[in-house]
């Protein structure tokens, strides 16, 4: 198991509990921040950043990506790029349209 190549399982358990704590705190922050009076774009940006931090903690530590092999990381990077293309190209093409739809 590549994920326990450096640490014993007991040490990993401590990390998991710390990550749990961080996720709880960040969830609280997510909700608290939603009550701030900011514009939509700012709110969107803050929400995505916090969600990304939480997501990275789950991906990195619970899903062991932090010690995972190159092959898997590259597959995920390609997927992420495909996801970004899917998200943004239709949107950008919408703003560049000559009519409403």
């Amino acid at each position: 198991m590549s994920s326990d190549s450096h640490k014993s399982v007991e040490e990993q358990v401590k990390i998991y509990l710390n990550v749990f704590g961080a996720l709880l705190v960040l969830t609280g922050v997510t909700v608290a921040v939603s009550y701030l009076d900011v514009s939509f774009i700012e709110a969107f940006f803050i929400a995505i950043v916090i969600a990304t931090i939480k997501g990275s903690l789950v991906l990195g530590f619970f899903m062991h990506l932090i010690s995972e092999r190159q092959a898997v990381i590259w597959i995920l990077i390609s997927t992420f790029i495909a996801f970004l293309i899917l998200m943004f190209l239709p949107l950008v093409s919408m703003t560049d349209h000559t009519n409403i739809w």
Partner: protein
């Protein structure tokens, strides 16, 4: 790698129906997909009869149109068109190219005993089967089968009959593809025999790998979009319905605020990579057959691998060239034209490499090689005719005309399908232990090549004259079509002759299967690993001795060696 044999007795169902052996599953995919291809061909024959002789009763199947005395109504034509496309692509070509050829050959060509996940493999076949049954069953519902094009564009597809079953069928088919392609990727990465490094893999394996990545990443958005369209039809949502829509004279009672373009984006995000899924396995097969029948290594093997990898990546950013006429702005149009032009480069690299592979070769003109050679100019025509479609200025005129139909059929029919035929002739001896008859093979090949061109070449003429596609009467209502309408009868006759040309192929299969098995391991004197297994390979374990790889995939005519081929597994 050990080859411990499984010594439990399997009953008929375990061995031939619910089998998890990739060879049985590959044959299941092969037989099912060939039957669907035949059915799709019949649908086309009915359409072509209508186009040649509009407003006349259709013979034999006219009873289906009993309300109109055997004369085809516009909605019947639309159903035939939509289902011909859907069946050929999703139930015919892709399951044959990826499900049959991929599943059967990938483990064998990499020296593995089976796919990485045999049960998942069986699940993917049965999901395909269920999807196919749903699609076929849709013909017999009161609503009838889908009739909004294989592209299922809203708002029409939200209100038209038959779409709900089409969407349900698609969800099963997409799931099947996802499971299958995931299996192929893990198999290629993890189960390569000792010594089989990445650049010793046959080109066919690389082609299947890129194809599977395209399927894994591009299909899910269509699954998502199908769910959304299903919700629009069944749950009354309006993801794809704009506000203020009027259908058949009545205002549509939906919330509105949706976007028909959203469907187009999600659909083509898949459907463009899908066309590369259609061609890549074919290119892989042609590569194998050319190397084998020129007795030379493939020219530019590494360049081709880089080319198809680049092609796979680029295929994700060209899709809106199907949407040039949706009111797109200049910037987006320029972007997609640019990426579309760039993506033509890797295909040219591959085609050029194949042509150069012929130079100086000792060419053997057996049936697989004939089909593989014919693929080259046919795919060339298909590819070149794509260029005016990729440039917005000309696409404005050619979009939704017969030019488009000619273009894509050239790539898939005398393109991919010829490559798949080549593959069937080439690997038949491995699968069954018997070689198909060469005379029947040539009787299949020459007329097929002739009549393929007879059916599809005039479409460019019709399209350039402005004849629109998807018209049930073939254009008789339009004055501008009057001087090219006569081609319809010519094309229909060619299509029927093309059908007749498949009879030697079907006979060949049955006659050969009934003949005695020779069990020859390597009748083509090929180098790749599958030819070192028995013919057919052993159930569940494939090989009868451990596989270790010492050489590259195409060591033909190696100077200093006495044989003109050195198998990969020989030192």
């Amino acid at each position: 790698m050990s080859y411990k044999n499984e010594h439990h007795e399997e009953n008929f169902f375990q061995k031939y129906v619910w089998s998890v052996d990739h060879k049985v599953i590959g044959i299941q995919y092969g037989v099912t997909s060939l039957l669907f291809l035949l059915f799709g061909f019949f649908l086309m024959m009915v359409m072509r009869y209508q186009l040649a002789y509009p407003e006349t009763p259709i013979p034999i199947v006219g009873w289906f149109f009993s309300e109109s005395n055997g004369i085809m109504l516009p909605e019947n034509y639309n159903t035939l068109g939509a289902m011909h496309g859907t069946i050929m692509i999703f139930l015919g070509v892709v399951p044959l190219a990826v499900g049959a050829f991929g599943n059967y050959l990938v483990p064998l060509q990499i020296g593995a005993p089976d796919m990485a996940f045999p049960k998942l493999n069986a699940a993917s076949y049965w999901s395909y089967f269920v999807g196919g049954v749903i699609m076929l069953a849709s013909f017999f519902t009161p609503e009838g089968a889908a009739r909004s094009g294989w592209t299922s564009y809203p708002p029409l597809s939200i209100f038209e009959s038959g779409q709900t079953m089409w969407l349900c069928g698609m969800i099963f088919l997409i799931t099947s593809s996802l499971l299958g392609s995931m299996n192929i990727i893990v198999t290629i990465v993890q189960l390569r025999a000792p010594g089989l490094t990445w650049f010793k893999l046959p080109f066919f394996i690389w082609a299947q790998l890129v194809t599977s990545f395209l399927l894994v990443l591009a299909f899910p958005p269509l699954e998502a979009a199908s769910v959304l369209q299903l919700m629009d039809r069944v749950a009354g949502t309006s993801f794809f319905l704009p506000s203020g829509l009027v259908y058949a004279g009545n205002a549509v009672e939906a919330y509105g605020s949706g976007s028909p373009l959203l469907w187009q984006h999600l659909f083509w995000f898949l459907a463009h990579p899908e066309v590369y899924v259609l061609i890549l396995p074919a290119i892989g097969i042609v590569g194998e057959i050319i190397a084998n029948n020129t007795r030379k290594p493939l020219w530019g093997y590494k360049s081709m691998i880089y080319a198809i990898s680049f092609l796979g990546f680029m295929s994700f950013i060209v899709w809106a060239h199907h949407m040039f006429l949706t009111g797109m702005g200049q910037t987006m149009s320029a972007f997609f034209q640019l990426t579309t032009m760039i993506i033509s480069i890797p295909s040219v690299v591959v085609l050029t490499a194949f042509f150069l592979s012929l130079w100086g070769g000792s060419i053997r003109f057996n049936t697989p090689m004939l089909f593989a050679l014919a693929f080259l100019p046919m795919f060339g025509i298909g590819g070149l005719t794509g260029l005016p479609l990729g440039v917005a200025a000309s696409d404005i005129f050619l979009h939704d005309t017969y030019y488009v139909i000619g273009h894509f059929h050239y790539v898939v029919a005398p393109g991919t399908l010829f490559a798949l035929f080549a593959g069937i002739y080439y690997w038949f001896p491995k699968v069954t232990g018997r070689k198909l008859s060469e005379s029947l093979g040539k009787l299949h090949f020459y007329p097929s090549l002739l009549f393929m061109n007879g059916v599809f070449m005039p479409m460019f003429i019709q399209g350039l004259s402005g004849l629109s596609r998807r018209m049930y009467d073939g254009g008789t209502q339009y004055a501008h079509a009057s001087d090219i309408l006569h081609w319809n009868e010519f094309m229909t006759i060619s299509a029927f002759c093309l059908g007749a040309a498949q009879i030697p192929f079907i006979l060949n299969i049955f006659i050969t299967l009934a003949s005695k098995k020779t069990g020859e391991r390597n009748p083509w004197n090929s180098t790749t690993i599958e030819w070192s297994a028995p013919s057919p390979p052993l159930p569940h374990v494939n090989f009868d001795k451990d596989v270790e790889v010492f050489r590259g995939p195409y060591e033909y005519s190696v100077p200093g060696e006495e044989k003109d081929f050195c198998p990969q597994t020989e030192k």
